[in-house]
Symmetry: C2
Subunit: 223 residues, 2 copies
DNA sequence: ATTGAAAGAATGTCAGACAATCCTGTTGAC
DNA sequence: GTCAACAGGATTGTCTGACATTCTTTCAAT
């Protein structure tokens, strides 16, 4: 009998599956901020039992992707600009550090990956598919964070970025934002490719600051 | 009838209560790293049902205070030195930033609080109560983080510090560590009190680096 | 001692139930 | 007409009990 290549891959439980589905739904903006999630509805839609759903909701609550108020149940938090600012500031701190470290330690293979993801974003940027833009941009950062040599930096960053995903889609739709974003990312890439830690830090900082500014504009522009 | 002073305090649910109790138990080192938690036992000890317990466990899992492997259940993660290092590095990033911001924005009242917490640590440091030392030191950082003007910085920092609580108790017990820690903290306080942002950053960085070194020693000294 | 199989323990998941709480629309008083 | 009390339904918090699946451990056989 051929050896079972399925080497101890943890089986995906209903709970994990559910967290994944809900997280994706939230990140893609399927739910309106402030809107409530009804347990019975979700159970029916997902075809799972209430205990399983509630476990998944607790996980998402701890990730701050939903809020659960006793006796009122889960809802999508309305992100205030104040909190968003705070997140962008910490994101800057982490991302700058990651880019700097990345510049002096990334492997050639991973650098190739990074270049490829930049190309993917370039293609998305020239289209009008803001979802693709957000996704490919996220890939780009992921690679940087994955190669900074600090798994915690990566983990915390992922958690924060998830919480501002709401803005990311909107600001990407801003006139010209995708193109300027591309230029900024290219500069980050060039710095990392050149192994220039200082330049990578600077470019990364610039990028986050501009992203934050774009988010602010997109937030003020409507409502 | 006297007005009900219980002004819309969210009722504490069984789940919240349980998370609080378990978190405290974990942080005080009641469970051995690597040891498994048996649902039925915890249910019996806490006097709650399995669904409630499991919800609480999912919250703690998302906080990374426990691990849950499918079909094996929850356990206390064994913190590798590699991960601990990564946590200390990110903690440094956050704490340095917080101390710097704090120096230029803390209010006189809060500065008084900070001084008081330093005194409390001073007292604990001269005793041999390492639990009191860890707690009062934690108060000191909390005040700094709470006054840095960025709630996310505070939130992330709290989460990280919780994960290395295991080391904090041990390294505080090291010969002379409490006293040198006190000196470092005093320097941070003086810098903040003087409103010297740069000095606060430097002192804070120094402190985290020393704490990390102490943790390494305490880890190597026994197995 | 190593291997293998069977018994026991623990988890993953579900269904159903009920009390406490919240929300909503209606009624009634001013 | 506006506001307040209220009744009813909807929703959540929590428990009990159950069962299949998956470890884990014990014990026997080689």
């Amino acid at each position: 009998m051929p050896p079972d290549l399925n080497l101890r891959i943890s089986p995906r439980t209903v709970q994990q599956e559910t967290v994944g589905k809900l997280r994706l739904a939230i990140l893609s903006g399927l739910f309106q901020p402030g809107s409530r999630l009804i347990e019975s509805q979700l159970c029916a839609q997902l075809g799972i039992s209430r205990p399983s759903l509630r476990e998944a909701l607790r996980s998402l609550e701890a990730e701050r992707l939903i809020e659960i108020v006793p006796n009122r149940g889960p809802s999508i938090p309305a992100l205030s600009w104040e909190v968003a600012t705070a997140i962008y500031e910490v994101r800057e701190l982490l991302e700058v550090e990651a880019a700097g470290r990345c510049a002096s330690r990334i492997s050639p293979e991973q650098l190739g990956e990074l270049e490829r993801s930049l190309s993917a974003f370039e293609e998305a940027a020239s289209s009008n598919d803001s979802i693709a833009q957000v996704m490919t941009a996220a890939d780009f950062y992921s690679i940087i964070l994955a190669n900074c040599g600090n798994p915690i930096l990566e983990e915390v960053h992922r958690g924060l970025v998830a919480r501002i995903s709401f803005f990311r889609g909107r600001s990407m739709s801003l006139e010209g934002r995708a193109q300027s974003s591309l230029a900024e990312m290219r500069e980050i890439f060039e710095s990392i490719a050149a192994g220039d830690e200082k330049a990578a830090r600077k470019a990364s900082k610039q990028h986050v600051l501009r992203a934050k500014a774009a988010a602010k504009i997109s937030m003020d522009s409507d409502i």
